[in-house]
């Protein structure tokens, strides 16, 4: 049941990506406050930067939603003065691809806790890859790399998968999303 994008899907994606971009920027500051040596803590923050790539596809359920939303959110974060500059766009791109792949694998038919958690975790994994090659992960000891990877994946699953899904569900319960795919699939199932 893959349908084409409606204009309201596009605008919702952009607006949500903007909110996420603002959140990412705030999260950057939280990250800065962490002691530089607390790798596990740093890794634990990773998942939040994956929110856009899950909440938007979970609501609009269109191919490309995860990738585009994560890219736009990254661009907004950069506009708001992100400390990672255009590297952000690279992050947005690879993390977006990570999120998107999971939904693609399920042919855009499954939007449930499992796919959301997998999506957040895979996006986080993309983040770990970038950390390893760009942000100096390769110069860390093997134990730190292992620790970082595991914690980042769990963070991606929880902060980047479960959390955005719960927000989407709460919005649906509040009746705000009736005119989007998330609100409609359920109704057809109920009948």
């Amino acid at each position: 049941m893959v349908r084409s994008w409606k204009l309201r899907d596009v605008i919702l994606m952009v607006v949500f990506a903007i909110v996420c971009g603002g959140l990412y920027r705030v999260w950057d500051l939280v990250y800065d406050l962490l002691p530089g040596t607390a790798y596990a803590a740093q890794a634990a923050t990773t998942g939040l930067w994956m929110i856009a790539g899950v909440i938007v596809p979970y609501i609009v359920r269109r191919p490309g939603a995860a990738l585009l939303a994560e890219l736009i959110a990254a661009a907004i974060e950069n506009m708001l003065g992100g400390q990672w500059g255009l590297s952000n766009m690279v992050s947005g791109l690879i993390q977006g691809i990570g999120s998107e792949l999971v939904f693609l694998f399920f042919a855009y038919r499954r939007f449930n806790l499992l796919t959301c958690v997998l999506s957040g975790a895979l996006a986080s994994f993309a983040g770990v890859v970038q950390w390893y090659f760009q942000y100096g992960g390769d110069s860390m000891s093997a134990w730190v790399i292992f620790e970082y990877t595991v914690v980042a994946l769990v963070s991606g699953a929880i902060l980047g998968g479960w959390l955005p899904k719960s927000i989407g569900d709460a919005l649906k319960r509040a009746g705000a999303l009736r005119r989007f795919a998330i609100g409609q699939t359920d109704r057809t199932m109920a009948q």
């Binding site: 994606m13 949500f16 903007i18 040596t37 003065g81 992100g82 110069s139």
Partner: protein, 784 residues
């Protein structure tokens, strides 16, 4: 009741509605039922009825927005004259001036509709100018409409429709958010349109001034049925007495009993007092030198033009916003020193956007102020019944209609026992009956020796209910005294836009603009582009002239290449290139750049320490063990490498931002890269949301602290998410509907090649060559 349709027709109707019923998918009952009426070409038609009766639904069905953009089940038939078929023939002006635009500049905005009609580029400037002239809006095409007043925005929306040669214009409560002067401006415009022979349908609550010009009135009942169709105001008045008009006035007895205290009455105890209060944001002063003493038993109305800072004054009075100077005292005690729980037991506050103050997931919990579970307190149910909400007790507050949300918000606040009642536009969007209910409740609070303060644009309300009026305009209090006294002060009325006459429209509105929204479209080209757009800018940097999409790709590619630098020699060469790009090619101001990037720089210092203290050191390299750190020069240099690498992309990101016009960028996506216009223009429209986002967050913070649910800042994102995002959803939906109503559907929205473009962004060979250089040079520098 729908018998009105059976009148004999003298001429062919322009629009005929036959037994139309409309039901939204999620509802069980139809919102509009069995409606039949018609009107002829050139008529001014007024649709009235209580709030929530389906006026907008009916109007959207006339315009085809239902069911094309908003899904609903439509029964019956709407017959349109042949002249009304085709995109753009029916123009629609929405209630909210903010969410019906999708571009930044006036010229682009009007051209958007023309592009959808595939009007030739060369014909656009003339049509834009003509439509601006028709609505008497004297602004350059390059003006940024975010800084317009509400009245100007509505005129622009009308101009957008006229440019598309709309034969029928539908205006859905176009004056709901406007001050009296702007309202008059819009009304005058409506009358002028009728004089020009246009057919106009207006939905209005405040229709009095329009009545002499109205040709037909369609009155809807609460159940969404046509109560009657009247061909003149007199016929209508005599038929629907004693309904809407008299309800607005409170009973004379109530008034005389409530004459209460006046400003100078020192015998009455002082409740809330502001002395020398001022408010400014950065350089911009909103108002200064405000002294206000509020006594028990008073009803004070705060009035003034759009953007004068009335809401923020109310927020300061409530202690929700810190004034930049002066002090507010509650019963002699500085407000800032009173703990929040005590402060907001004494002060009740109603926000303009009711949604921000909701805390619970069910209406009944919201009303009770706690989760009541299955036992439903009788008094809570009673309160709900009073405001007509009892059948919604178990619904989510966010799910209610706008009018119901406001009613609930007011009801929860009125349920408290406070001394001071501050309400921002408490009756906005309510029908006469609910309005009266709310006002009488407030009156009761005033009578019990409370103080009521309302911000309002409704001068009838002021006249009928307030005991004292404060005029806020031109950065201060222009008038503070009795209501009757105000109406004798022509100068004050004029300065505060409370008069009906037309003043210079350039003046106000500038205050409410957000800097955030502007920073999105850095002023590289916008200011230069006046009437025949694309006049050569006075001085633009080489990067500023580069095709924006092409430049974006090239810069991202360049940044990616830099990320592969692995030694200092490479980084040194690449940094030299970055510096040439920033200062030589895009003429960045070094000082501004330093200020902007300073937080990032600070973050990178921490970064260095991380590396110095923690890097895995190859055997044989000197390092110092201290605590659990392993400090080494080796790690330090590694850190410098990583930091320099990423920092260069930060500079490039900044270069991209300052040298690119946001609109050009979005348009180039579609025009040059053939990205679906739906996506490119959707991005354009969506980014307009950034401006209002900050304000939304701020109000939400205040609402939470007011209701004692602020909590730790760390949990804010969690508790803010629902109201903020449901607002975001609503904004998205409205924007999409407004864009589709302007012909943005089908091929022109789907395919980049099926629309015309007002902004001409040619990809010249020079752009390609230059951008290729931006990719090749760093590649060469990386490998030499």
């Amino acid at each position: 009741m729908s018998g009105a349709a059976k009148q004999p027709w003298t001429s062919a109707p322009f629009v005929r509605v036959d037994n139309v019923s409309i039901r939204y998918e999620q509802d069980h009952r139809a919102i509009v039922r069995d409606c039949s009426f018609s009107f002829s070409r050139g008529e001014l038609v007024l649709i009235t009825g209580p709030s929530g009766c389906g006026k907008s639904t009916l109007a959207m069905a006339l315009a085809g927005i239902i069911p094309n953009s908003v899904e609903a089940e439509v029964d019956g038939r709407i017959w349109l004259d042949d002249d009304l078929k085709g995109p753009g023939k029916i123009g629609y002006v929405f209630q909210d001036p903010e969410t019906q635009f999708c571009m930044r500049q006036v010229g682009d905005e009007i051209a958007f509709g023309l592009e959808n009609l595939k009007v030739e580029r060369d014909d656009m400037p003339e049509r834009i100018e003509r439509s601006l002239a028709m609505v008497n809006l004297d602004v350059p095409c390059s003006a940024n409409h975010a800084s317009f007043s509400g009245g100007m925005k509505q005129k622009l929306a009308i101009a957008c429709a006229l440019a598309m040669d709309a034969e029928l214009l539908i205006l859905d409560e176009p004056t709901a958010n406007l001050d009296p002067q702007s309202t008059r401006t819009v009304f005058e415009q409506i009358v002028a349109l009728r004089r020009q022979g246009r057919t106009v349908v207006v939905i209005e609550h405040k229709y009095e001034p329009l009545l002499p010009y109205v040709d037909r009135i369609v009155s809807l009942s609460r159940e969404g049925q046509v109560e009657g169709v009247f061909e003149s105001a007199e016929a209508w008045r005599s038929a629907v007495e004693p309904n809407p008009v008299p309800v607005r006035q409170p009973s004379r007895e109530a008034l005389s009993a409530a004459s209460g205290a006046f400003a100078g009455d020192d015998a009455v105890p002082l409740l809330l007092e502001a002395s020398g209060v001022a408010l400014s944001y950065g350089q911009r002063t909103v108002w200064t030198g405000v002294d206000l003493a509020l006594r028990r038993g008073e009803w004070v109305a705060i009035v003034g033009p759009n953007g004068a800072g009335k809401s923020s004054l109310l927020e300061v009075l409530a202690g929700l916003r810190k004034p930049s100077a002066g002090e507010v005292r509650l019963q002699g005690q500085p407000l800032a020193k009173i703990p929040k729980s005590k402060r907001y037991a004494a002060i009740s506050y109603g926000f303009q956007n009711p949604e921000y103050q909701f805390l619970f997931e069910r209406v009944i919990d919201e009303m009770a102020g706690r989760v009541v579970g299955d036992d439903r307190p009788a008094d809570t149910l009673e309160q709900l019944a009073e405001f007509g909400l009892s059948n919604l007790a178990l619904a989510s507050p966010y799910e209610l209609s706008q009018g119901q949300k406001r009613r609930l918000a007011v009801a929860t606040m009125l349920g408290k026992r406070s001394d001071v009642w501050l309400f921002d536009e408490p009756t906005y969007g309510q029908d006469a009956q609910t309005e009266r209910l709310i006002l009488e409740k407030l009156k009761a609070r005033q009578m019990q020796q409370g103080t009521v303060v309302t911000v309002t644009h409704d001068m009838d309300l002021v006249r009928a209910w307030a005991t004292r009026v404060v005029v806020l305009a031109d950065g201060g209090i222009l008038y503070d005294g009795s209501v009757d006294g105000l109406f004798e002060r022509g100068d004050v009325l004029a300065a505060a836009h409370l008069l009906d006459d037309v003043l210079d429209i350039e003046e106000d509105g500038n205050r409410e603009t957000s800097n955030k929204g502007r920073s999105l479209s850095p002023q590289s080209s916008p200011q230069s582009s006046s009437q025949p757009r694309r006049m050569p800018a006075p001085r633009r940097s080489p990067f500023g002239m580069l095709h924006p999409g092409c430049k974006g790709l090239a810069l991202v590619a360049m940044a990616t290449i830099i990320l592969f630098a692995w030694n200092f020699a490479q980084l040194g060469r690449l940094w030299a290139l970055v510096i040439v790009a920033a200062f030589g090619l895009s003429w960045c101001n070094p000082w501004k750049m330093m200020v902007r990037l300073s937080p990032a720089l600070a973050a990178y210092l921490i970064y260095l320490w991380t590396f110095a203290a923690n890097a895995a050191v190859p055997p044989g390299t000197p390092s110092v063990h201290w605590l659990w750190y392993n400090i080494s020069w080796y790690g330090m240099w590694k850190g410098v490498l990583v930091a320099l690498r990423t920092l260069s992309t930060v500079v490039l990101g900044y270069v991209m931002l300052v040298s690119t016009d946001g609109t050009d960028f979005a348009v180039s996506l579609s025009q040059t890269f053939r990205v679906s216009p739906k996506l490119a223009y959707g991005i354009m429209a969506g980014t307009g949301f950034i401006g209002s986002f900050q304000r939304d967050l701020e109000v939400l913070r205040m609402a939470r602290s007011l209701r004692g649910r602020q909590g730790w800042w760390i949990f804010h994102p969690v508790s803010y998410a629902l109201p903020l995002l449901s607002q975001a959803v609503r904004v998205s939906e409205r924007m999409a509907v407004a864009m589709e109503a302007r012909g943005f559907f089908g091929d022109p929205a789907q395919f980049a090649s099926r629309r015309t473009y007002f902004r001409v962004l040619r990809l010249r060979p020079w752009d390609v060559a230059f951008s290729a250089g931006l990719v090749i040079v760093p590649l060469v520098l990386l490998f030499v």
